[in-house]
């Protein structure tokens, strides 16, 4: 089975989740849990950084969709950063750029939150 890891880093109000490895139907629950924890802690300003993400499947994309409504209702957001071209292609194909803000760097997304 392919590996997947989520690392979390909190910067005042903003939380960064760094994804690594393969995000598919098997590993999606880990990612789901990470976001769930943030929601429980009422940290709704989330950045998902994907520089080390090798692959994302539709189930992985579904995790974003599963929480985005609730997070946006609480004035939060999920911003996506540091995608590799390959991962970006998957997001783009599905039309995610129309639904999520995508940045090159974490700092840009953070700036956007602190604006």
């Amino acid at each position: 089975m392919e590996n997947f890891e989520v690392a979390r880093e909190d910067h005042s109000e903003v939380s960064i989740l760094r994804l690594k490895g393969f995000l598919d139907a098997h590993t999606a629950p880990n990612f789901e849990q990470a976001i769930q924890e943030l929601i429980e802690e009422k940290r709704f300003k989330i950045i998902v950084s994907m520089s080390d993400l090798n692959y994302i499947s539709s189930a992985g994309l579904g995790v974003f969709m599963g929480f985005i409504e609730e997070i946006r209702e609480k004035d939060g957001d999920i911003k996506l950063t540091n995608m590799t071209d390959k991962v970006y292609k998957v997001f783009d194909l599905l039309g995610f750029p129309a639904l999520y803000q995508i940045f090159k760097e974490e700092a840009e997304a953070e700036k956007e939150y602190n604006r």
């Binding site: 189930a59 994309l61 579904g62 969709m65 039309g95 995610f96």
Partner: protein, 702 residues
């Protein structure tokens, strides 16, 4: 059973007769002044006496057979055997006392054997001899049973040797009527030698009392005191009952009863000594036995109980009895996190343990888990590093804890036991707790494995259903339109993905194609697929433009799809009379188009987001419809990401480009040939690796 009763029926009168004949002879002898056989008596009289002695021996043998046939001596427990023994001995004493009081015997005491002086004495000696045989024979059977508690081939051998030599002693005792004196002189020498052999064998057999080892401590103490009393009673038995009265009646009975008496005396003495020696270790032995049985119990339960919840209750429940702790509890790690929770407890409420506080418990638990060794805290004083345990509950004087380490080395949790007193636990309690923890691990591991295998079975079943649903949803036949050849291919992965394609008959010259991929896998994907197909098919009656149809489909599906689910779709409508293909792409893979005039294939990817991602505003805004004016020889390839993302062993993806090139270079081939080429290409790319997602391909050649 009938046979057995019959033999008893025959044996009883024979036995009675065998008693009556010597009795009558004794009476006759008493009145007729025939001298009692001595060494000096003449042969004629001895001959009659030998017959009488023979009858007594026969009586004993037949009586033994009668007993063996009538009563089941073999299957008695140790306790039953001992009880029978005490009863028999008591009855023997009682009978002799009653007869002694009633008949008041009187002996001459000049020669050996003594001569009875009165008629009552004759009766007395006859009956005491009878009692000796009647009670001693079953007593010997009981002792034999005790010896045979743990038998080896040697046990049989020595027992047989003992029986044979005892029999020889009886015979020689009859032939040489001299009391056993161990003078080793005169005619008595044979008696004495034989008797010595018997005694040696008796002593040897007396060592065989391993039944004592497995008695409980309480039984050992009780039996020890009883054995002392019995030994004393036995010591007196010979002089009190046997010594003079039996030889007067029968020498055979006398020798037999003497041998039996020595045997008993020796066996009881040795048993008594054994019991005494085992008293100091009895407590430990008891405990060890308890531990073994309880661990056995636990492993038996484990092999039958696979319910995780029941098991976690059972582990402390079974352990508390053996460890003799006042309270016990089991802590386990939560599956998802590294946090411990109280799985079950004995004599201590879950909330009380929780009060102990996560931090306090955690320090102790982490110490045990990290060292992987059990811990024993016997004196939790004020200045003790674990003094906080006292603060939590003042009635915890000592505590032991052992880790539960799974077979793969992963810690599962901990097992704790506490006592009110300080120094409540011994080091061997720790070993015991560890044994329980280890057994517990096996049980819990097994339960988890079983659960997983059930789960897997359930998943397999689900997959089977999903595959079936998927197969039924796909079109059964390819529509026939003039001048268009259509080829479809689906390969289902082990875990069913949500691939789907369909044809829509918009009108006689307008044919619709749909290809889609439901996010996620398994049953839910299959059911969403079914839903999507139904919605698209019914909407297609009113909306004939791909973009409009997708917008309507999204509006309906957004309401019903689970938030994290979505469907990527591509819809196309081919007008056969105008040779125009219009299509819209809702988040799906691009449409591969081969233009025969330009001899070039390209990937068409107009904007559009997946169905079910957004309720409609953005969807409508983003979704673009494109049109392609096509001519003969043009090819359209619809596919799903199962094709473009098919991975080989190196983790490389098949990719759109490979497909595009393949189509471009083989565009002159027929649709069917082209399909086969794609299949070959993918298979050779995969190099035997299986697909992780469904793969769908729809080839349309004008």
């Amino acid at each position: 059973m009938n046979e057995l009763r019959l033999s008893s029926k025959i044996l009883i009168p024979i036995l009675a007769l065998l008693f009556v004949i010597p009795f009558a002879f004794d009476l006759y002898q008493f009145y007729s002044d025939i001298p009692i056989p001595t060494l000096e008596s003449d042969d004629n009289i001895s001959a009659i006496n030998y017959v009488i002695e023979g009858l007594t021996i026969l009586f004993s043998i037949l009586y033994y057979i009668f007993l063996i046939n009538t009563f089941n001596f073999r299957d008695k427990s140790i306790e039953e055997n001992l009880k029978i023994y005490v009863y028999l001995l008591g009855l023997l004493y009682f009978s002799v006392i009653v007869f002694k009081l009633l008949l008041n015997p009187d002996w001459s005491g000049v020669s050996f054997p003594d001569e009875p002086q009165t008629l009552t004495t004759v009766i007395y000696s006859n009956f005491v001899s009878l009692f000796a045989i009647v009670f001693m024979v079953p007593i010997l059977i009981v002792i034999k049973n005790l010896i045979y508690y743990k038998r080896t081939r040697r046990t049989y051998f020595f027992m047989r040797l003992l029986v044979i030599s005892a029999f020889a002693t009886v015979i020689s005792g009859v032939i040489f009527p001299v009391p056993e004196s161990f003078q080793f002189t005169g005619t008595g020498i044979i008696n004495d030698v034989l008797f010595s052999i018997v005694l040696i064998l008796v002593v040897l057999q007396s060592f065989r009392n391993s039944w004592i080892t497995y008695l409980s401590r309480k039984e050992k103490v009780t039996y020890f005191f009883i054995s002392i009393f019995i030994f004393w009673a036995l010591l007196n038995l010979d002089g009190f009952a046997f010594k003079t009265s039996i030889p007067a009646h029968s020498l055979a009975a006398s020798v037999f009863s003497t041998v039996a008496w020595y045997f008993q005396l020796s066996y009881v003495l040795f048993s008594s000594i054994y019991l005494l020696f085992q008293l100091p270790t009895a407590r430990v032995f008891d405990r060890k036995m308890n531990e073994v049985t309880s661990l056995l119990d636990l492993s038996r339960v484990i092999s039958t109980e696979f319910d995780f919840q029941k098991l976690i209750k059972l582990i402390p429940e079974m352990a508390i009895k053996v460890i003799e702790a006042e309270a016990m509890w089991l802590e386990l790690y939560k599956t998802e996190s590294k946090e411990l929770y109280i799985a079950s407890s004995q004599n201590l409420h879950q909330s009380e343990i929780e009060e102990f506080g996560k931090s306090g418990r955690q320090i102790l638990s982490e110490k045990i888990v990290s060292s992987r060794k059990p811990i024993l805290l016997n004196e939790i004083g004020k200045n003790h590093p674990y003094a906080y345990l006292r603060e939590w509950k003042s009635d915890i004087g000592s505590i032991i804890g052992a880790p539960l380490i799974s077979g793969n080395g992963k810690p599962l949790g901990l097992l704790f036991a506490t006592k009110r007193h300080t120094f409540g636990f011994f080091p061997d309690d720790l070993a015991m707790l560890e044994a329980y923890a280890n057994q517990g691990v096996i049980a819990l591991d097994n339960a988890t494995l079983i659960k997983e295998s059930f789960e897997r079975e359930r998943m397999e079943e689900e997959l089977r259903i999903a595959r079936e649903v998927q197969q039924r949803l796909l079109p059964h036949k390819t529509p026939q339109y003039n001048g268009i050849s259509i080829e479809a291919l689906t390969i289902t992965a082990y875990e069913v993905g949500g691939d789907y394609y369909d044809y829509i008959n918009f009108s006689d010259d307008q044919l619709g194609f749909i290809i889609g991929d439901v996010s996620g896998k398994g049953t839910s994907a299959a059911f969403y697929m079914a839903e999507a197909k139904g919605i698209v098919q019914s909407l297609s009656k009113s909306f004939k433009e791909p973009r409009e149809l997708l917008i309507r489909t999204n509006e309906i599906l957004f309401e019903t799809l689970e938030r994290k689910s979505f469907i990527s779709m591509l819809m196309a409508s081919l007008n056969c009379s105008t040779n125009t293909l219009s299509f819209a792409r809702a988040g799906h893979c691009p449409l591969l188009y081969y233009n025969s005039k330009q001899n070039a294939a390209s990937l068409l990817q107009p904007e559009g987001i997946g169905v079910g991602l957004e309720k409609g505003v953005v969807f409508r805004k983003k979704l673009k419809e494109e049109s392609v004016k096509c001519q003969k020889g043009d090819i359209f390839v619809f596919y799903t990401d199962g094709l473009s993302e098919a991975r080989n062993h190196a983790g490389e993806e098949y990719g759109d480009e490979r497909l595009r090139t393949l189509v471009e270079t083989n565009a002159t081939k027929s649709a069917l040939e082209l399909k086969d080429l794609v299949i070959d290409s993918i298979l050779s790319f995969l190099e035997g690796k299986s697909l992780s997602d469904d793969l769908t391909l729809l080839l349309v050649k004008i």
